[in-house]
Every structure is written in C-alpha cells, then in structure tokens.
C-alpha cells in the first residue's frame, strides 16, 4: 500500500473523529485567544467624524433665539463648578460639574433623546470635554455652546456696535443682539428722565391799594 493510500484510508475511516476534533479545536480557540478590551460606545471613525463636524456647535445667537421663543426641546447644562454656577448662569440651566458628568444622578440628563442638550461652560473647553465623553458613549443630541459664556457675554449681553462699512446683516444682528440683551435684562435703553419743566413763577405784585384819594 502506498503512503498516500494509507492517509486516505485513515481520513475516510476517522472522518468523524477528525471533524469533531476540528470543531473542538476551533471552539477552544475562542477560549485561548488573547482577550482585549473592546471599545465602548461608538466606533472611533464615527467619533472623529462627529468631532470635526461643525454641527455639534450652536451659536449664542441661535441659543438666544431658542430661549426667547421658549423652545421646549432645549435643555441647558452648565458644566462649571457649583460655586460658579451660583454666581451666574443662563436662565433655566442645570448645573452638572464636569467631574460629576457620568454620575448616576446626572447621567439621565445627557443620556436621552428627548431634548437637545446644550452644554456650556465659561468657554467651550469643559463643554467640549463633556461632549466628547458623551458622544463617545453614544449619547444623542449633544451640542456645545460655541464660545461658552464668554461669547454669550460678548455677543448677547454686550454686543459690539458694527462699523459703518459692515453689511446690513451685521446691523440686523446687532439689533437682534441688543433686543435679546434687553430680554435677558441688560442694556435696556436709558430713558433720560426729563425733569418736568419748571414753570417760571411770575410773581405779580399786587399793587397796593391805594387809599382812595379824593378825586374830583
């Protein structure tokens, strides 16, 4: 018998043993393969795509418009510390300090898809970090207020009067910002109180009645 015939005979005779061995071998491969930690949340490619998209920002003007129109879908989240939050913040904002972002108490505010969550801090720095954490975990509808409260102050609270050479839109925007500022309670036009014009009192001296003199 040739050697090749022998191997063939072996394979045919032990067909099922060989197949069973292969099956166990492949299953054992799963156990023996080195384990690695899987990425949590969305795929890195998608994360980068989201991160470089400008759609994740909302401008202060857009936000002011939403607040003034009382858009019910907006949820404002202040990422600064509690102390800073207590000093000033945006109307109806919720305070979630960055370090507590993923706490059980707060995660319900950002891990949902009912509201458009707008994150802000003094600039966009903390808010960006929070956005990245959230987006990586696959939370939906997260936005960052571009420029944060500093930008808010520079545009809405204290807008700059446009130069004479600027286009008409700049003036319109200025008007909008000025009006928005008034809505938020600042920069109301000063109404000069005109003092009521004092009436000049002309004192008319009454002539003393002269004693009647003898006439003709």
């Amino acid at each position: 018998m040739s050697k090749r015939y022998k191997t063939k005979k072996f394979i045919v005779k032990r067909e099922y043993q060989i197949l069973a061995f292969i099956l166990v071998f492949i299953a054992a491969g799963l156990v023996l393969l080195p384990k690695y930690k899987k990425n949590e949340g969305i795929m890195p490619e998608l994360f980068v795509k989201n991160a470089i998209s400008s759609e994740r920002y909302i401008s202060t003007d857009q936000l002011a418009d939403k607040i003034i129109n009382q858009d019910p879908s907006v949820l404002l989240i202040d990422m600064r510390s509690e102390k800073e939050f207590n000093e000033f913040s945006l109307p109806n904002a919720i305070n979630i300090p960055l370090k507590n972002l993923l706490d059980d108490d707060y995660i319900g505010y950002i891990d949902q898809d009912i509201y458009d969550v707008i994150l802000f801090s003094n600039d966009s720095f903390y808010a960006d970090q929070a956005w990245m954490l959230g987006n990586r975990l696959g939370f939906k509808n997260l936005y960052v207020l571009k420029g944060g409260l500093n930008e808010w102050f520079n545009t809405i609270i204290n807008p700059k009067y446009p130069d004479e050479t600027m286009p008409r839109e700049a003036f319109k925007l200025y008007d909008f910002r000025k009006a928005a500022g008034i809505y938020f309670g600042v920069g109301a036009p000063k109404t000069e109180k005109k003092a009521a014009p004092t009436k000049k009192v002309i004192t008319v001296k009454k002539k003393k009645k002269r004693a009647a003199e003898g006439g003709c």
């Binding site: 099922y16 069973a20 099956l23 166990v24 299953a27 054992a28 799963l30 156990v31 393969l33």
Partner: protein
Amino acid sequence: MGPLIPNGLIPVEWNYVIAILIGMAFGYILEASGFSSSRKLAGVFYGYDFVVLKVFFTSAVVSVIGLYYLDYLNFLDISQLYVQPTYLWAAIIGGMIMGVGFLAGGFCPGTSFCGAAIGKIDAIVFIIGLTIGIFVFAEAFTFLEPLFNSSNLGHITMVDILDISPYWFILIFTIIAIGSFVFSDWVRSKVKKVFY
C-alpha cells in the same frame, strides 16, 4: 436582511425576494437530506436515526462559534443581537405539546411543508392538523393568555444565568454536542436497524 438593508446597501423591497430565495434553499436542503420523510424525525425517538439531532446541534454550535469569532474580530457586536425573551412555563408546556406533535406526526412544521411539496399524504394531513391547532389556539387565546404572558424572564441567555465567560460556555457546549453525537451513535448501534 442583516446588515445590508438597514445600512441602505440594498433597497427594502429586496426583503421578500431574499426571504423567498433563502426559503427555497432551505426547503431544498431539507428535502435533499431526507427530512421530508416522517421516519427521519420519528427515528430520533425510536433510536434508529439521529440525523435531526446531529444537524440541528451542529448548526447551533457552528453558528455560535462563528458569531463569537466575528464579534472577536469586530465585524459584529454580540450585544446588539436580538435575544428572544424567555417565557419559562409557556416554553416548557409549549415544548411538550410540540414534542408530542413531533412524535405523533413525524414532522416539524418546516419539514411538513417540505413533505407536502413532494406529495406526501401524511404531510398534508399534518398541515391540516397544524392549521386546526393554530385556529384552536387563536380562539382559546383569551384563556391561555395568562400562561402565555407569565413567567417572563426577559432577554436572558445561559451566559447571564451561569455567569461564566461565553467562550468557556461555547467550548463546554461543543464538547456536550460531540458527546451527544457519540452517545447517539452508541444508541443507534444497539437498536434494530430500520431501512426506509
């Protein structure tokens, strides 16, 4: 249809076409491997033919190994797969009724249609019985509903219950499968052979 339709690689209308093609392929394989004969299924109970057990156990083992390799290589996410919810008592009682039906009729629903397609009268009778069963169940559903909806354990798997690594579970499961094949071959060698 898997990742193709949700990702928009092919339009939704292809769902039915693909379903029909897969169904035809499935029916062809069933018939080609002799499942359209009621003796094949009954053979598992009488101990002269264990092909059904071997086929379905092997397919389960192969697919679970394949799925976990795909998951390991990041081609799919196991946690995203849909797990049927477990209704414990409903499943036990339903399984018993179905087992009796298997034994008495010699068909499972799929193979009965396969048998009917090649003109087997017992398969046609089985389908009539199956339809009557569906009708009775539908009419009696109000009474059966408490059982139907009770003991819902949610989307659980053996890995959740036993709290072990899925890889170890797959290995043990594979060994159990092969052990059962060896055992069934042993039983078969003891039982009088039936030719059909």
